[in-house]
Amino acid sequence: MPGKAIPYLKAVVHVLCLLPLVFLLWSYRSGALAAQADPVNYITHFTGNWTLWLLLADLAITPVRRIRPSLAWMIRFRRMVGLYAFFYATLHLMTYVFLFSGYDVPGAMAGLEAGHLMEPWHQFVMILPTMVDDAEKRRFIQVGLLAWLCLLSLAVTSPQRVLRWMGGKNWQRLHRLIYVAAGAAVVHYWWLVKTGVRTPWKDTAVLAVLLLARVGYVVVKRMRGKRARVVVRA
């Protein structure tokens, strides 16, 4: 892949990553979203699914580019896809806060229009106990929040400048949190579905393959290294 094509390809990836959001907004405008039996449930699943899929896509970049040296350019898309995963994770969290927890969006809007600038905040304070209760009691919420916090820490440290400031080693260590985030996201999924429901198995299998590919890579590399040393010694 010649370097010149990268900016164009980046534009394509931007568009691809934004398509789910465009689709959601389009559904909202057309009324299709409101016609969903349970729009909140739909948005929750939609944003949750896309977070997980983008995380998996992001984690697929490294193993795929290791297949051939000529695929090394792929690494340049890792940060971008990861940031989109964080973007959808944030939409997912906002869905929980503003649509799931009983936040009165029309009420807050009406307050704003009437000039009560604090109304959105008041509404937030009103639902805060419900959310705190959830965060204290429910492990699927806790593990979901953990995944989002991991992604948040990666997102704020993603600019080049922060990398330079932190130093490559530290930065890389921190960014291994992507594995925690992906693992936590899958656990979040398993813990929220009913016992006996196995819908998360596909995502789990993909994550397992992506992690095993890394283990396999390290093992093969070590074995090759050993063989090389043996040759040198002989």
Binding site: L19, F23, W26, S27, Y28, S30, G31, A32, L33, A34, A35, Q36, A37, D38, P39, V40, N41, I43, L99, F100, G102, V105, P106, T130, D133, D134, K137, R138, F140, W191, L192, V193, K194, T195, G196, V197, R198, T199
Partner: protein
């Protein structure tokens, strides 16, 4: 409160199902548009999805005293596209996609166990046994959403009494078919689906032997051709597509209680004070409008039917017997 005054919900306020359906279809074609590459595949899917409208038969119903004056009725298309019917798949829209294939004629219900007249009864005989009433009930799912649905049926008690249960029969068990065409029967759950009620709950006048909704025979995904509706309990207690009714002496095993006894009790009366381990039951999302902003309303004890049914549980600790 339960008396119909005839002016609770103007029919003009109910979104016609055609409108909602049109929106849902346009969403699907939009999906097809996004997946330009898989357009052919999507077109195939879209075609399959137009088959949902299995012809439902209009029912002749008599008026009843049961209505929900303070809440609008859920649009029919919403009630028929958002179902938990795990035999047809685990996602909410799976039953709508798969259940239309199920044959609901011929259909018989086998009545057995501790009963003087064990027999196998044909569905059409059961439907003609008593006049069918239309009753609007609140419907509260254990997942913290709710609908308002007009059900068509008659009290289960009338049918059960005709079977002459023996005095030793203390519970009634309902079993759902496993042989419906289109059923995927996910492997994580043991079928047939089993639900049960205590005899006094089954005989309560609110418990409805149900054949239809919205004035038509039930859509397959709603449990056609025969189900029960127990409005003061979480939805999963209301067994669908029943093929067996069994009178028993002991509390029968029930499917979700088998799966997760800490999450789904035998009684499963709607109770805002007892949380599901994974979410609060204090509130519910009322799915009866066409707004994306949810109506989150407080959940009422016994789903608002406390004045009629609370007596059934006098002296029981409802936190323990959840």
């Amino acid at each position: 409160m339960l008396l119909r005054t005839g002016k609770e919900i103007a029919s003009s306020e109910i979104t016609p199902k055609e409108t909602v359906r049109a929106f849902q279809m346009s969403r699907r074609s939009l999906l097809a548009g996004v997946g330009a590459v898989g357009a052919a595949a999507f077109a195939g899917r879209a075609f399959a999805e137009t088959k949902h409208a299995a012809p439902l038969t209009k029912l002749t119903t008599v008026a009843s005293a049961y209505t929900v004056p303070d809440r609008a009725i859920t649009p029919e298309a919403k009630a028929q596209s958002y179902n938990n019917f795990y035999e047809f798949g685990e996602e909410k829209d799976d039953p709508e996609k798969n259940a239309w294939k199920m044959q609901t004629r011929p259909w018989t219900v086998k009545v057995e166990g501790l009963v003087a007249k064990p027999q196998t009864v044909d569905i059409d005989t059961i439907m003609k046994y008593r006049p069918i009433e239309q009753r609007v009930y609140r419907f509260r799912c254990v997942e913290a959403w709710s609908m308002v649905i007009p059900w068509d049926g008659y009290p289960l008690a009338e049918f059960l009494k005709a079977m002459e249960p023996l005095p030793s029969a203390k519970y009634v068990q309902f079993l759902t078919t496993t042989s419906g065409k289109g059923m995927t029967l996910p492997s994580g759950i043991e079928f047939p689906y089993s639900e049960g009620l205590r005899m006094d709950e089954a005989m309560h006048p609110l418990t409805l032997l149900t054949f239809g909704s919205y004035g038509e025979t039930l859509a397959n995904q709603q449990g056609a051709p025969i189900r029960v509706i127990v409005p003061w309990k979480y939805g999963f207690k209301s067994a669908k597509s029943i093929v067996k009714i069994r009178f028993v002496a002991k509390e029968p095993h029930t499917t979700w209680n088998d799966m997760a006894p800490d999450e789904y009790g035998f009684y499963s009366n709607v109770n805002p004070a007892v949380d599901h381990p994974r979410w609060s039951q204090a509130h519910e999302r009322l799915l009866n409008s066409n707004s994306i902003f949810p109506k989150v309303v407080p959940t009422q004890p016994f789903n608002g039917y406390g004045s009629e049914v609370a007596g059934l549980y006098a002296g029981m600790d409802l936190r323990k017997n959840f």
